[in-house]
């Protein structure tokens, strides 16, 4: 009886000793977290995550190669446990969702009738599939059958797969099954880091929008009443839709192909509608935020560009802090653009949407005075984004420039939003014809000026302001004189009483650019006025910063930075928005913010900022997109409600209203879906007939490697 017991204990003992020694001897220095994470995983070794078993999954999680929620079996609970252990915020672990780049489906033309095995891979064996398009979806649903989580459903109408974001776990089995390679896993990061490329099939509006918003996509959602989805599509590229929805000059619409024989789409009105839809519901559409990366980034300047950079950096998982010199965030849209175009309350909704992602903002601190860039870099910030705008209003160096009653445009407008006294007067003269000038003129009328005279050196077609701003200003009673140049300011007892001006003519300059101004002799006259506002240019306030940190500037008094990366002369310090480009548009500042976020993300995570291949800069040749034949005219109906003139004076009430839901949906149906090309001509009504030209499909944005599934 003792022998067997002895034997078994003996063998077990020996085995234990050998194993013990071996694990000492062959000890591999492993992160202790890997074992801990592996213990939290279910240990099913199923490979559903695309890793070779639970151990390697744990390794990948700790190395941050995959997200904490990779485990398909463990689900959210496991993800949360792991996240808690590793100290990440899991709620926002970035979901990787499958999506297909084909939008053709049953509409694509057929090569022949196919009645073989109902499987895409089998069908592809026969003359490379039965649809004429080389890239498109065959629609036999192999991906639907490959999905282990019933997240894919074939739409009986379009013949295309529909992906259920609630069920998709991003395991990638559909990608491996699809023989056409049109399914890809797209995460939030991809959308944020991606910039237009010439290889993409882009509708003209998408090419023209500086922020590169996917306009056809949000119009399609709006058309179907999916306002939340529409808004999410907008917010992938623009975090301030309420503000842009009101003041954007709609560069996109200038390229809208409806203009060939029709009105352009009122794209911005639709954006305004969906963003107001969220605002009036009072409930925000949740925005996913990637797991914490542990990097800290400082954003200096809380204007649109700073907010946009902060928003995308936060969504990419970085810690962001904003440093702002004014008591409130918002930049020029708050301290410049008047209340009747964009109210502080509306802007605040956009700003709160950014801050609610977990961004800290320090206000009343000025770079160059209260802190320096070096201070930020030494105190744990891995990178700095300068978005300090153009807050120095230029003043003309003419005779009498020291008289009281002369102000710069941004100075005049800022006082409506601060504790400073506002400037009032009877007779205003305004120099300039940009948005700032129009805002000053219209604000002056609203504060009781009896006459407002706007003078501009060039001809009317060279006025920079948004076209309907000019029209509105004139309607409200602003007198405009073009081809008039200021000569000197006249005053009495130190107070301004008038301005001497002179008529001019223009002469084309040989090399293009702005024409030369030639004064007309003897045309001088004096315009009496008690307030003169100059909206003749802005620059960045850089002197203190340059003194403290030695930042390089350009001869236009803007920050000098690399065009491809927005990196300044100081490593790890980036600049964008008005302080880099000079005063431009809100969307451009927002675009710069996302562009800088991309650079900074790569800079802090990899130390290197990759160039964007085939980056789209110019509009692509129209031939790249299918041509339009027989588009039935359908005039726009999305005319914004406007309050009558009498109601505008003496108040700063909002002038333009938001279009109605019906108008929004109707307008969105006018979209021609440019850039989507595989139509079966026979089935189409005449008004949608297209001639498909060569159109490269969207490139596949694949983030996750196509790992062979183990087991």
């Amino acid at each position: 009886m003792t022998a067997p017991i002895l034997l078994l204990t003996g063998i077990a003992f020996i085995a234990a000793i050998i194993l013990g020694i071996a694990s000492r001897l062959f000890f591999v220095d492993e992160d202790p977290r890997i074992e801990a994470v592996a213990n939290l995983l279910p240990g099913a070794n199923c490979g559903g995550c695309g890793q070779a078993g639970c151990n390697s999954a744990a390794e990948a999680i700790v190395a941050r190669k995959v997200e904490v929620n990779v485990c398909v079996v463990g689900g959210t609970e496991t993800a949360e446990e792991i996240g808690e252990y590793l100290g990440y915020d899991v709620a926002g672990a970035e979901p990787m969702l499958a999506c297909s780049s084909c939008e053709g489906g049953y509409r694509a033309a057929r090569k022949y009738h196919y009645s073989g095995l109902q499987d895409c891979r089998a069908a592809l064996q026969l003359y490379h599939g039965f649809i004429r398009c080389e890239n498109g979806c065959l629609g036999l649903g192999s991906c639907e059958r490959a999905c282990r989580f019933s997240a894919i459903r074939m739409d009986p109408e379009s013949g295309l797969p529909i992906f259920d974001p609630e069920r998709c776990v991003g395991c990638g089995s559909c990608i491996e099954t699809c023989p056409k390679g049109i399914i890809s896993l797209v995460g939030e990061k991809t959308k944020i880091l991606h910039w237009n490329q010439y290889t993409q099939c882009l509708s003209p509006c998408r090419q023209r929008c500086p922020a590169q918003i996917d306009i056809p996509k949000y119009l399609a959602h709006a058309r179907r009443g999916e306002y939340g989805a529409a808004l999410s599509a907008i917010k992938d590229k623009n975090p301030l839709p309420v503000s842009t929805g009101r003041v954007c000059p709609e560069l996109c619409a200038t390229q809208c192909r409806r203009t060939i024989n029709d009105d352009p789409l009122a794209i911005n009105s639709i954006k305004r509608f969906v963003s107001d839809w969220e605002r009036s519901s009072g409930k925000r559409i949740p925005v996913p935020v990637a797991a914490d990366t542990g990097h800290k980034i400082a954003v200096v300047g809380g204007g649109p560009s700073g907010l946009s950079a902060a928003y995308y950096l936060r969504r990419l998982g970085h810690q962001v802090e904003i440093f702002e010199m004014m008591p409130k965030l918002g930049g020029m849209p708050r301290y410049g653009i008047p209340e009747y175009r964009l109210s502080e309350e509306q802007l605040q909704w956009d700003i709160d949407g950014v801050l609610e992602l977990g961004i800290t903002a320090h206000t009343n601190v000025t770079l160059g005075k209260d802190f320096t860039i070096q201070f930020l870099l030494k105190n744990g910030f891995d990178a700095v984004y300068l978005a300090i705008g153009a807050w120095h209003g230029r003043l003309l160096p003419l005779e009498g420039k020291e008289l009281t009653g002369i102000y710069s445009g941004i100075d005049y407008l800022r006082r409506f939003h601060t504790d400073e006294e506002t400037i009032t007067g009877q007779n205003f003269v305004i120099i300039g014809a940009g948005n700032v000038a129009m805002d000053c003129a219209r604000s002056a009328l609203r504060t009781g000026a009896s006459s407002v005279h706007l003078i501009f050196r060039f001809s009317r077609d060279l006025m920079e302001a948004n076209a309907h701003e000019i029209a509105d200003a004139e309607k409200e009673g602003v007198v405009m004189s073009c081809l008039v140049s200021p000569v000197r300011f006249i005053g009495e007892g130190g107070r301004l009483t008038g301005i001497e001006v002179q008529k001019v003519t223009l002469q084309e300059r040989a090399g293009g650019g702005l024409p030369d101004v030639i004064p007309v002799e003897g045309s001088n006259e004096v315009l009496p006025c008690d307030v003169l506002i100059q909206a003749v240019g802005q620059a960045a306030d850089l002197n203190d910063i340059i003194e403290a940190d030695g930042l390089a500037k350009t001869r236009y008094n803007t920050i000098d930075a690399d065009e491809e990366t927005l990196q300044t002369s100081l490593p790890g310090v980036f600049a964008g928005g008005d302080c880099y480009s000079g005063p431009r548009l809100l969307v451009e500042a927002i675009a710069a913010g996302r562009y800088a976020a991309r650079s900074i993300h790569y800079y802090v995570t990899t130390g290197e900022i990759p160039a964007i291949e085939y980056r789209q800069r110019e509009m692509m040749a129209p031939a790249m997109i299918d041509s339009l034949v027989n588009v039935v005219p359908q005039p726009t109906n999305a005319i914004k409600p406007i309050i009558p003139l009498e109601e505008r004076m003496a108040t700063f009430r909002e002038v333009e209203g938001t279009i109605s839901e019906r108008q929004c949906q109707l307008e969105a149906t006018r979209c021609l879906n440019c850039g989507i090309y595989c139509y079966d001509q026979d089935d189409l009504p005449l008004d949608q007939l297209r001639i498909a030209k060569s159109c490269p499909n969207e490139p596949h944005i694949v983030e996750k490697e196509k790992n062979a599934l183990a087991a």
């Binding site: 034997l7 063998i11 194993l19 062959f26 095995l117 087991a711």
Partner: protein, 191 residues
């Protein structure tokens, strides 16, 4: 010649998987893709041979001399399990590449019936050292062969029109049955 017969018979005729039906959890589990099946097959060959050597030695030099043959199942489990663990530890340190290729499967076959089966069959047949080696190699190669053939079938099955009720494991088992019949056909060849 005897050794040759032994090899043929244990690879084909008495194929451990299809004729004796041992170790069919990986047979059904990791046979969806040829790639993974290959990794599994390699791991099985490796572990089977190694554990056969160890169990045979233990049986011949420890259990039999002391008349403790009845303990063989228990000791074999102990030995095979520790062995696999040991191999895993060593591989991890010495050859990361091999570990990455076989690692996952090693853990899965700690208690694989085919490995255990080979060890037990060897003692039952009272084979000598060389014979034992040939038997272990041939059996595990047979296993690998069956696994790969089956994986090939299943890859094709995946894209075939199969009635709903038969999809998945059902058709896999039917296929396995038919393959098994085919292997039984070898019976007449040698025994």
């Amino acid at each position: 010649m005897d050794l040759f017969y032994l090899a043929i018979s244990s690879t084909f005729v008495n194929n451990i998987l299809l004729a004796q039906y041992l170790g069919h959890c990986p047979f059904l589990g990791v046979s969806k893709r040829i790639g993974t099946a290959l990794g599994m097959a390699a791991a099985i060959i490796f572990v089977t041979i190694l554990s056969a050597i160890f169990t045979w030695s233990t049986f011949t030099y420890v259990l039999r001399p002391y008349g403790l043959e009845f303990l063989q199942t228990l000791t074999f489990i102990l030995i095979i399990a520790s062995l696999v663990q040991l191999v895993e530890i060593i591989l991890k340190k010495k050859s990361k590449a091999l570990y990455n290729a076989l690692g996952v499967y090693l853990a899965l076959i700690t208690t694989n019936c085919a490995v255990m089966g080979v060890a037990l069959l060897i003692t039952r047949k009272e084979l000598g050292f060389i014979e034992m080696l040939v038997f272990a190699i041939a059996s595990s190669v047979g296993y690998a062969l069956a696994l790969l053939l089956f994986a090939g079938h299943r890859e094709r099955l995946q894209i075939s029109a199969i009635p709903k009720s038969m999809q998945g494991t059902a058709i896999a088992l039917v296929t396995a049955g038919i393959m098994s019949l085919a292997f039984i056909g070898f019976r007449g060849m040698a025994a």
